[in-house]
């Protein structure tokens, strides 16, 4: 019986862990690896072997530990002591850490204060396995109660009950739009016919966002488990994960995870000895932002150019190869197993009235603590930026926080006390988006930021519909003129008209939201636009303001 085998693996892991004196976790997400994390891991492993501590001390490569700018990070969990974390670890320090673990006294230098708000104010559901689970070992995931939710679903629940549980949790899609996940599942479940598909959107196209990447790299099984539960709930036997080609490490880890899960009969044929079959294949994106849009993504999985098509029909009714298709985001799937285990109503106690649970944010830009944080929905933006994020470096002042990438907007200081949830952000002209949160100080010019995003949308517009293809070019031209000091007030009027037109008439979300950065900066920072237009000056000193200079 495979279920017994899995229980045996869990027992074995727990026993091994109880016998271990300490576990040393190295952040093995791409960020820390690029600052020397793999050399640190090698040094740790070698030192453990050298000091003959192989059974007492385990070295594991885990998901993102959060504080990316201080990497490589190493976390030590000793049997009889509070956890400790080290920052900017070098191979030499790694050796000292191992000696410290063996000798009982950890080095005092380069300690990361685990009592700082960056760590204590977080609430980890999606990222709870970081520091605990080795991203490349299914045994670790099983020991952390991994695949227990799948087992519960397959042995104790009917598909309708699973959908009901997800609905009760109030979970909303984490890919940007915030569509209620339970409702989407029930639509696909009700759709007729065999050959349904479950798709994971791991295209993560918003620049400045790396939450999905961290989840895929650090805890790939969590996503696979969520997809398998979804497949059972909606009645699908085939799944695809569409990962962007820029994430080679995530792709490797996913491939490894799928192979491991298949070997343990947690994916594939007759999962956990039940009648349920589910296969997952990976499709690799090739660098097109629009492919994050669900209909474009479908077209790309089918091997075509990634151009969107009008909805309805929604993918839930006619998606991949015309079949009913469930598409959710990585973080959405990562929430599924915890919801099943804790119960939907329990999950729903966290967050605000219409936004439940937590949200993972990628903090970046002009902020002290750049990295990955998970916070309860409804937390004030000020707390994320100042308490958790540590505020603005170099004695500068906060100017704006950008959320939602090219579809979102800039939030000014006046709204810092806003609770972060879907409705509140939409209310001030931004969106929750996928979780990128980029902080800007007075060195950023809002007109230039608007121009930057418009250039992005212009380049990424797939060209299928005219409002988006031509409108983004025109809006970019006007914004370019503003940054060069050659625009007048008529241009401003034209910009506003175009923004309205492109928003209302574009075919897909890319065009429909392309004007958001312009509209939100115009709303909150109109003075800055006027300075460019009327006085021909850029208060931030970013724009060239001379026609002949390049922007």
């Amino acid at each position: 019986m495979i279920v017994d085998d899995i229980a045996a693996v869990r027992d074995r892991e727990h026993a091994a862990r109880a016998a271990q004196k300490a576990r040393i976790a190295v952040c093995s997400a791409a960020g820390c690896l690029s600052t020397g994390g793999s050399a640190v891991k090698d040094a740790l492993t070698a030192a453990v072997a050298e000091q003959g501590a192989g059974t007492d001390v385990r070295v594991l490569g885990t998901g993102c530990l959060g504080l990316c700018h201080a990497g490589p990070l190493v976390r030590v969990d000793a049997q009889d002591a509070a956890p400790a974390m080290f920052e900017h670890v070098t191979p030499a320090l790694a050796v000292a850490i191992v000696s410290g673990v063996v000798g009982g006294a950890l080095p005092a230098e380069q300690r990361c204060d685990l009592t700082q708000p960056f760590f204590t104010r977080q609430h980890r559901i999606v990222t709870s396995d970081a520091g605990v689970v080795d991203a490349e070992r299914i045994e670790d995931y099983l020991a952390a109660n991994g695949y227990a939710a799948l087992e519960k679903v397959l042995t104790e629940m009917r598909p309708e009950e699973v959908v009901r549980e997800i609905s009760a949790s109030g979970l909303r899609g984490r890919g940007g739009a915030g569509y209620p996940t339970g409702l989407k599942w029930s639509t696909v479940a009700k759709a007729q016919g065999p050959g349904k598909f479950v798709v994971c959107n791991a295209d993560e196209g918003d620049p400045g966002a790396f939450m999905d990447r961290s989840v895929l790299e650090g805890d790939p099984h969590r996503v696979l488990e969520g997809m398998a539960i979804a497949a059972f709930a909606v009645g699908a036997e085939q799944g695809y994960i569409y990962v962007r080609g820029e994430y080679p490490l995530a792709i490797t880890r996913l491939k490894t995870a799928i192979r491991q899960a298949e070997r343990m009969q947690l994916l594939g044929h007759r999962i956990l000895d039940t009648q349920f079959n589910f296969r997952i294949d990976i499709r690799i994106g090739a660098g097109a932002f629009v492919c994050g849009e669900e209909t474009a993504l479908i077209s790309s999985i089918e091997g075509k150019r990634g151009t969107p098509r009008p909805r309805p029909p929604f993918p839930a009714e006619a998606g991949l190869w015309g079949r009913p298709t469930l598409i959710n985001n990585v973080e959405t799937y990562a929430n599924i197993a915890p919801i099943i285990l804790a119960g939907g109503s329990r999950f729903a106690t966290l967050g605000t009235e219409h936004s439940k649970g937590t949200k993972v944010f990628a903090l970046a830009g002009r902020i002290v603590n750049t990295g990955l944080v998970e916070v309860p929905m409804g937390i004030p933006l000020r707390e994320i930026i100042y308490d958790i994020g540590g505020g603005i470096p170099d004695g500068r002042t906060f100017k704006a926080a950008q959320t939602g990438g090219p579809s979102g907007g800039c939030i000014p200081a006046a709204h810092l006390d806003l609770p972060v949830d879907y409705e509140a952000l939409a209310g001030i002209g931004s969106i929750m988006g996928s979780g990128g949160l980029i902080v800007m100080d007075e060195t950023s010019c809002m007109v230039d930021v608007a121009r930057y995003f418009m250039e992005f949308c212009r380049d990424e517009s797939c060209g299928k519909c005219i409002p988006c293809r031509a409108g983004t070019v025109q809006m970019h031209e006007i914004l370019l003129k503003m940054t060069r000091g050659t625009a007048d007030e008529r241009d401003l009027g034209l910009l506003e008209q175009l923004a309205e037109l492109v928003t209302r008439t574009s075919l897909c979300g890319l065009g429909q939201t392309a004007a958001n950065p312009v509209m939100s900066t115009l709303h909150h920072f109109r003075e800055e636009y006027m300075a460019h237009i009327r006085d021909k000056v850029c208060p931030a000193g970013v724009c060239p303001m001379h026609a002949e200079d390049r922007p």
Binding site: S34, G71, G205, E246, G303, G365, G371
Partner: protein, 153 residues
């Protein structure tokens, strides 16, 4: 070509595996030339117009040969806010190369990316498949010089 054939066989020559196959081809040959596109189209029974359409739609695919080294400058928001535009301009000036181009001696290709997912380390560059964070125009140029000094002798 053998490896490419094997990859196509693995996908049972399904037309919908086109993008996967183009990924493999680019990994094998570094870029996609017209010959290769025709070959793949023929084998997968996809018309050349569609193969070309797909190959030109996606940014990752390159129809021109790349230089010996590739420098990817991230122009994602986090990196932009932290000044990659200045780094890019410095590289263009110093190496006499434009985005999408390769230095005349075929040493360095310069491309840009939309976000590497390493925003915590912004501004970030990818130099020959390795991510480098917290770059400045000076450190970026120094890294590139190290390549070229080594190879240009």
């Amino acid at each position: 070509m053998k490896m490419l054939d094997a990859a196509m066989k693995r996908h049972r020559h399904q037309p919908d595996s086109l993008i996967e196959i183009l990924h493999t081809a680019q990994e094998l040959f570094g870029y996609l030339d017209v010959q290769c596109l025709k070959y793949v189209g023929h084998a997968l029974k996809v018309p050349p117009s569609r193969v070309y359409g797909v190959a030109t739609f996606y940014n990752i695919f390159s129809l021109k040969p790349r230089g010996a080294h590739t420098c990817v400058v991230c122009l994602g928001t986090a990196c932009y806010v932290k000044g990659t535009a200045a780094i890019l301009a410095a590289i263009e000036r110093d190496q006499h190369v434009e985005v999408g181009g390769t230095t005349p001696d075929g040493q360095v290709s310069l491309v840009t990316a939309r976000c590497l997912g390493a925003c915590g380390l912004a501004p970030a560059l990818v130099l020959d498949n390795e991510i480098h964070g917290a770059m400045t125009p000076e450190t970026a140029l120094a890294r590139i010089k190290a390549w070229t000094d080594h190879d240009r002798g």
